[in-house]
């Protein structure tokens, strides 16, 4: 019974976010049609086994090594560690070809505001280009740069800065 509750909550959350996203101006690509594997999860007959909807954000986070890749100071190249992470994202994205993602680029606080908006865009696009190079349709991938506006680590030290220099892949609800 607890499991069913979780599943219903998740379904409700999906509906809620989908309703929210409708308010935003849509992308140019056609609105996502009902993907075959997406039709069941809202019903009680869905995969309630572990309460994770296939193709969902939760499924993505559970299936990939990480949703985040990191960068060196003022760098935007995809290193081996990032490559390995992005490869698991490619595999998942290939399983769910109708799922769209946004890659968020972020920077640490040691760059100026406007430069960091540009640097975050570089990082998001570096990750995007890697995914696209591995066969993910580029039109499925949006990018956005937050510059230094949304750190996840709050210290002013090497460890925090390293954590904040990142590109995060976010699955969009359908």
């Amino acid at each position: 019974m607890p499991r069913l509750t979780t599943s219903l909550l998740l379904a409700g959350a999906l509906v809620a976010t989908a309703a929210c996203s409708k308010k935003h101006p849509e992308q140019l690509p056609p609105a996502p049609g009902p993907a075959p594997e997406q039709t069941q999860p809202t019903g009680p007959s869905g995969p309630v086994g572990d309460a994770v909807v296939p193709g969902s954000s939760a499924d993505f986070k559970r299936s990939v090594t990480s949703d985040t890749v990191h960068f060196g100071l003022d760098q935007y190249d995809i290193d081996d560690t990032a490559r390995a992470i992005l490869d698991t994202q490619v595999a998942w994205l290939n399983r769910y070809p109708n799922v769209r993602v946004t890659i968020e680029g972020h920077c640490d606080e040691r760059g100026t505001r406007e430069y960091n908006l540009a640097l975050g865009d570089r990082r998001a696009n570096a990750a995007k280009n890697y995914l696209a190079g591995r066969g993910v349709d580029a039109s499925r991938i949006n990018t956005i740069s937050y510059g230094k506006e949304r750190p996840i680590a709050l210290g002013s030290d090497e460890e925090s800065w390293a954590a904040n220099r990142r590109a995060v892949t976010v699955v969009l609800s359908q």
Binding site: T112, R113, E114, Y115, A124, E149
Partner: protein, 462 residues
Amino acid sequence: MRSILLLSAVLLAAPGAAQDMPATPLKVPPPPAQAQAPGGAPPPLEVSVTGGISAPMPIAIPTMPTDRVTDTQAGSTDALGKQLADIVTSDLKSSGLFNPLPPAQLRTVMFPEVTQPAFSYWGGSGAQALVQGFVRANGDGTLTVGCYLYDVSAQTELMRQGFVVPPADWRRAGHKCADMVYTRLTGEGPYFDSRVVYVSETGPKARRIKRLAIMDQDGANHRFLTNGQSIVLTPRFAPNQQSIVYMSFVNDKPAIYVYDLGSGRQRLVTTTERQTFAPRFSPDGRWIVYSMSINGNTNIYRVPAAGGTPQRLTNTPGINTGGSYSPDGSRIVFESDRSGSQQLYVMNADGSNQQRISFGGGRYATPVWSPRGDLIAFTKIAGAFRIGIMSPSGSGEKLLTNSWQDEGPSWSPNGRVLMFFRQGRGNAGKADLWSVDLTGVNERRIPTPLDGSDPGWGPLRP
């Protein structure tokens, strides 16, 4: 309708220039008798702005009397006289060039004394200059503020001005009076009667709430313009001060917008799926220069402020951003990492003739051209962020601040003072607005209700 209220600044005719009397002459007390017989010729009273070492000039600014105590929408005229003197005192003190006498050394000035200063008293006070004035309520609801500057040792009047203001703008009369004194004694342009737009910050560091806000240069008349639902960054005034260009993350579509101060309405400047940021108006208000990122490359563009077709000005791989026009509109200073690190470049307004101007160690960012045209202010990154200045050719580099993170300078209307934001370290590190003058000596925190960043100092108000 929140249109900008017009202040009629009335320059009273100096003795002998009566033909310049304005259409609505002010009934001010007659000119002082001393003006006719200056006697000897003492050295002219003046203040050095760039010297930096000379002591601030002692100046007396007593409470401005009223001819008749009257209640107005701005308060009673005798209370206003005290507050106006406080504004003039605060403005002049903030410039770092004046040392106003403490209240205990000031004498109570009666109305007839405004134009007949008690020089025998002031001569013993240590003040070199004296500012007197008066407040009067007019029949139509407006206020008249008279402002007189005297040379204490020469016992002469140096200048006088009268201002007629609506009650809501009463503080502006104080700023105009301070501007008169500052300009007459320093030879520099005025700047106290001006406003600042900036980003008001609150909340935890990971989810800062950022709102556009506007206030007078001294922090008074503070007002929020946006509600904080979206991140907003880098607001800058239009030259006519009727609108602000800035960047917003509204709808998760980071783009530049123009906020109309009269209507409170906002409009998107360019329609594109790309991220646009770093906007600034051209000096004639016809263009907005901005940056746009395409597939990781950022270049500088300009677009007619009224809307139209964008024109690309830079075309190099890497990051080109932070464009700022020269005051004559003919050139643009910007930053680019085309050499491998952030450096400053100058180009013609059409994008031609791009030349690097910064060659010191470290990185250079956020260039802003002085409204006087003689200097470019920037953020220098060498571990810490510091505010600096250099000539448009890159010579004469000078750093003005020395803190952990000082970023984003913005010029005062007269090009002698810079406002910037100072970021504190770590989890609890907050951002505050600060100002510093060109000597680098006079550094001051600008009071804001919450934290503040990205100041954009507006032009002198008309």
